[in-house]
Amino acid sequence: MNSDIPLTRGFMAAASRRWLDNDRSAVFAGALLLAIAIPCLLAPLVAPYDPTAQPDIIGLQSRAPSLLHPLGTDPYSRDVLSRLIYGGRLSLLVALFATLVSVTLGTAYGAAAGYARGLTSSLLERVLDALLSIPRLLLLIAIFAAWRDIPVAGFVLILGATGWYGVARLVRGQVLALRNQDFIASATALGATRLRIFTRHILPNIVTPVVVAATLGIGHVIVLEAGLSWLGIGVRPPTASWGNMIQDGSDQMVSHWWISLFPGLAIVLTVMAFNVLGDALLKALSPMRPVIE
């Protein structure tokens, strides 16, 4: 019998098998996300036009969808499809990296807070409570209103740095619950070091909620980015993002619906797909819960 079983491979294989077997909607959501993400990431290759080019601001202003411009043009005569693809690339990458930042910060802080004892523990907890009490959207509006020409990297970092409190609270709770589990005591009784207990027994057991939180978090950041850009303080024109594209068409929503509708649809579909995926991951990554349909 082959003896060398890297546990992560076995675990992930089992998880993906459960997932594929049991959750068609997750497969659909995954396919939808790929269908959206791949063209966006390959934007320069697939976009028919330059997303910022304004070929004829009078003749081509706000034209309805046609063969030449499948999703129409916006008030500045730019091609909506090209802007949708480039804007999608920006929106997705911003959401992905901002979530990466917040999950990393949140997991680190939450793990520390969950592991700490006594005074340190209560201090970390109070700080987290204080941070959680700051309304994120207002804080972001204040920051971006004050810092008007912020680079995209700064935008991502600030979105990430204001988004980790929830993850931290989640991780802290999980670590606290796990710390008193018998298998932690058992691992200690078998001679494992604190580091090994953390990496082998605590982390793998919080991966599920963290991955789920991250997946749902990406959808949340997409909406947040769109909202800020729509308010005119997120991604600045002429750079396209789904949010500022909606803004471009928002004063002529009825007569020139295609300008706002398509980025809006893109946001809805993407966020929904991330949410379905998050739920499916939650089911698939819990080996203790056999999935029975």
């Binding site: 546990l7 009784a189 494992a192 082998r200 057991n205 080996p287 203790m288």
Partner: protein, 342 residues
């Protein structure tokens, strides 16, 4: 007699809580010889589990092993050895089997992986050697088709199987001593018998000493050679298992024996020792059992009884040892009956 494998002297494990010091283990001394099975019996709150956890220094704050306690194992005092030294003992020379076989296994790893991890923790051999040995140990504990079982997750195994996995983990490094804390409490009766038989069999084959912690006198009768009876954080009686069952001296032990349901008797109600264990923050003065004892007299309140020598290897913490005539005049029945008629 040769050197004991483990020698506990005046172990005191106190919990410094805001509502006072809980003296959960308060001056316990005993020896375990290589290859023997020592039972510790007592009801909830008597300090038996805290004693077990203290041996591996697994006591969490605010609990603390007090200065003056000694746990001498293979020439080292485990109370003072550093953390790295302690880790080298845990799982390697002394292993522990926990009560609840579901929660003592990590749900996200296969059981084979978790058994193999013990060898990895103690840095012996490669990953594949560890896996092979894990499969072998699973086979030793009577798990059918161990190669396949090793690839399963804890939730896919029954309670008895999981307990076998925990035993395999404990045996992985061939330790000199296994501490089994209520190893069969969470299992149903037929599985209990199998697990006890397995432990006895493994003990014979590997020569491992076992410290069996339980509240179940049946388990003690089945497995132990010598028994410590604990009450109120102290040892109240120590004897060979036969002596304890035939000739219990301490009134608490006596009560435990009568409280045991007996299949040959037609009894309608359960017998219980009246009262409950006092809180460990406030043990009564004198004898800690006196409030529940049917023989107690004023000396019991005044004077904390020492462990009196009753027989060759039989001690009891009761003044009756010096005033045996008082046993003839109990002021209450031995046990009370509770529960509805059957």
């Amino acid at each position: 007699m040769s050197e004991p494998l483990l020698s506990v002297e005046n172990l005191r494990t106190w919990f410094h809580t805001p509502s006072g010091i809980a003296k959960s283990v308060d001056g316990v001394s005993f020896d375990i010889r290589a290859g023997e099975t020592l039972g510790i019996v007592g009801e909830s709150g008597c300090g038996k589990s805290v004693t077990a956890l203290s041996l591996l220094r697994l006591i969490q704050p605010p609990g603390r092993i007090e200065a003056g306690s000694r746990i001498v194992f293979e020439g080292k005092d485990l109370v003072t050895v550093d953390e790295a030294g302690m880790r080298a003992v845990r799982g390697n020379r002394i292993a522990m089997i926990f009560q609840e076989p579901m929660s003592a296994l990590n749900p996200v790893f296969t059981v084979g992986d978790q058994v193999a991890e013990v060898a990895r923790v103690h840095g012996t051999g490669s990953r594949s050697d560890a896996w092979d040995r894990a499969v072998e140990m699973l086979a030793q504990t009577g798990i059918p088709s161990p190669g396949d079982r090793a690839r399963q997750y804890p939730h896919q195994l029954s309670g008895g199987m999981r307990q076998r996995v925990l035993i395999a983990m404990a045996l992985m490094m061939n330790p000199a001593l296994i501490i089994a804390d209520e190893p069969t409490t969470a299992l149903d009766v037929t599985i209990q018998a199998q697990i006890l038989e397995l432990l006895a069999d493994l003990k014979r084959r590997f020569g491992t000493a076992i410290l069996m912690i339980t509240h179940d006198l049946g388990v003690i009768a089945e497995t132990a050679e010598r028994v410590l009876v604990m009450y109120g954080g102290e040892i109240v009686e120590e004897a060979e298992v036969r002596t304890l069952f035939d000739d219990a001296h301490h009134p608490y032990t006596e009560g435990l024996m009568y409280a045991m349901p007996n299949i040959t008797e037609s009894r309608e109600r359960l017998n219980v020792i009246p009262g409950t264990v006092p809180p460990p923050t406030a043990w009564p003065s004198g004898c800690r059992f006196r409030d529940r004892c049917r023989y107690s007299w004023e000396r019991c309140e005044r004077e904390h009884p020492p462990l009196y020598q009753i027989g060759v290897s039989h001690t009891s913490r009761c003044h009756l040892a010096e005033e045996p005539e008082r046993r003839a005049h109990p002021h209450a029945p031995l046990v009370e009956q509770i529960g509805a008629s059957l």
